[in-house]
């Protein structure tokens, strides 16, 4: 499956991990065809942290679902390492807004779950791998706990461990911190950046929080709604790890915010959304 050796001279220029070429998505609804996504082109490099930010209904989750393979584009193609994406799979694991842990399994068994479908690992090896990732999110001593005994932040950390354990090449994250309270969330950003740096993942991270986008992203794609499209991409060139509340993060955050608000029909609406951010 994994072929990394390149014979062509083009090997010097690394191929993008993920390519979206003229991808569109339209849904048939009772009110006719709704265009969720206008033709979109996007390239994501290996080990890049791409944040997709936009208002609700801008098609950012649609975009993520297309990459995840939960949904298929109406036209255009989604390529990973040059191959079209056919369906969901653990080379592109998704983390959701809710932890979506399985309550019938213990914490450790949840983290081991995705490893079950990888060949060549026996139970003891699966447990070792899972334990390693559980330690990474500092929840090693909760291995034998039940899911309902964990707090929201702990659940989301277990979900991260579960997503990392099968060693996906791309991690797709759909507002994974949005359901957590601010204090828990801000505590997680540093830990999360460390883990992503240590495990060298390519990440596509969807959010509507501009500060979160500025704090986490190497690159931020700003989307606008109705119909959804990527209107601008910004590079965030700040040293890591970034502190969520430091002032240098506010500069790009403000820029992303301006970009988003430029879309809104009038000042009044603009202020309303600005407060949400």
């Amino acid at each position: 499956m994994i072929k990394t050796e390149d014979h062509s001279p083009a090997a010097a220029m690394p191929l993008p991990k993920l390519v979206l070429r003229e991808v569109t998505k339209a849904y048939n609804t009772r009110h006719g065809i709704v265009e969720a996504l206008l033709p979109t082109n996007l390239e994501v490099k290996k080990n890049e942290f791409l944040v997709i930010v936009g208002p609700s209904g801008c098609g950012k989750t649609t975009l993520l679902n297309l990459i995840a393979g939960f949904d298929h584009p109406t036209s255009g193609e989604v390529l990973m390492d040059g191959h079209p994406i056919k369906g969901p799979g653990f080379d592109r694991l998704v983390m959701f807004q809710e932890a979506a842990l399985f309550p019938w399994l213990k914490v450790i068994d949840n983290v081991m779950y995705g490893l079950k479908w990888k060949k060549g690992l026996n139970r003891a090896e699966r447990r070792d791998v899972a334990m390693c990732f559980l330690e990474m999110v500092h929840l090693g001593r909760f291995a034998d706990a039940s899911i309902h005994e964990l707090s929201g932040g702990m659940k989301q950390r277990v979900a991260l461990a579960r997503a990392l354990a099968p060693n996906p090449r791309v991690l797709l994250m759909d507002e994974p911190f949005a359901a957590l309270d601010a204090l828990t969330r801000e505590g997680l950003y540093l830990q999360f950046q460390e883990i992503i740096a240590a495990t060298k993942k390519t990440v596509i991270f969807v959010t509507h929080n501009v500060r979160e986008a500025a704090c986490l992203g190497d690159r931020v794609a700003v989307m606008s709604a109705c119909p959804g499209r990527i209107k601008r991409e910004l590079m965030i060139d700040l040293p890591r790890p970034r502190q969520f509340n430091r002032t240098e993060v506010s500069v790009p955050a403000a820029e992303i915010g301006r970009e988003l608000h430029a879309d809104l029909p009038d000042e009044e609406g603009g202020r309303g959304v600005a407060e949400e951010f």
Binding site: F90, L93, V94, A100, F102, P103, W104, W117, I147, P166
Partner: protein, 264 residues
């Protein structure tokens, strides 16, 4: 936290205590009613007489084997019913066509009283235990099947998406995700099915057996022994509640709490 917990435990204890007092008052009223002789003894015996009759039946070595016989029939009949109901329920949960047709059949079947299955079971199986299993299955299977189908239909889609993204192959979805995710509802179906099966078992025993709670109840009527009839009714209620509350009820609550469906 500690205080809250203690208070909660206090509340539970207090509630149990009040329930106990309620039953003691009920027993006392029964005794008073008996002492006032509104009804002749063969219509309303005293609590003591009922208790004595049960002791006699126990001493004769009839009561306990009867309880065991009925529970054993339930174990076999309801065991089969749960298996069949689970299988049919899974089929209903997966195939919309099966769901549409079978659901209407089962909902119809559920309006039928358990005892109404006894004549047909007599015609098919005669006076054998198989006929009692048949009545138990027909009384309880529909409840298990419908609860299973509902449980599958109401699985949070997020579990299925998570399972897919984690690479679960299609053939493994059923036992790895769908059944465990539907378990709280399946358990509710088992609990309801048990109670309906219990009705069926005792109804069938009234007519076609030579041992069992229903048989002793029937015998009490034959002997014009109101103490035995009332005593057997109480024993039947006791074991029904015991299983419903303390076996299925406790399992159901534990599962619901673990699945995050009940918030303390």
């Amino acid at each position: 936290m500690r205080i809250c917990r203690t208070r909660k435990e206090d509340a539970v204890w207090q509630r149990n205590f009040r329930t106990l007092v309620f039953y003691l008052v009920l027993l006392a009223l029964w005794q008073i009613f008996f002492e006032m002789r509104f009804f002749p003894e063969y219509i309303l015996p005293s609590p003591g007489m009922v208790f004595r009759r049960l002791r006699e039946l126990g001493g004769d070595g009839i009561l306990w084997p009867s309880v065991k016989a009925t529970l054993l029939r339930m174990a076999i009949g309801f065991g089969l019913s749960a298996l069949i109901g689970l299988g049919v329920g899974v089929a209903m949960g997966m195939l919309p066509v099966a769901n549409q047709y079978l659901r209407s059949v089962f909902l119809g079947m559920q309006t039928l009283p358990s005892a109404a299955w006894v004549p047909i079971s007599l015609l098919i199986f005669g006076l054998s235990d198989r006929g009692i299993y048949f009545v138990i299955i027909m009384s309880s299977m529909a409840a298990v099947a419908i609860a299973t189908a509902d449980g599958i239909a109401n699985i949070p889609p997020l579990y299925l998406r998570a399972a897919k993204t984690l690479g679960t192959p299609r053939w493994a979805m059923g036992y790895q995700v769908i059944l465990p995710a539907a378990l709280p509802s399946v358990m509710t179906g088992f609990k309801l099915g048990w109670t309906l099966g219990w009705h069926g078992a005792v109804s069938a025993e009234l007519i076609k057996s030579s041992i069992g709670l229903g048989f002793l109840l029937h015998m009490g009527r034959e002997l014009n022994d109101m103490s035995q009839v009332l005593g057997l009714m109480l024993v039947t209620i006791f074991f029904g509640v015991l299983m419903d509350r303390f076996l299925f009820g406790v399992m159901e609550n534990r599962i619901r709490r673990r699945w995050g469906l009940d918030h303390e």
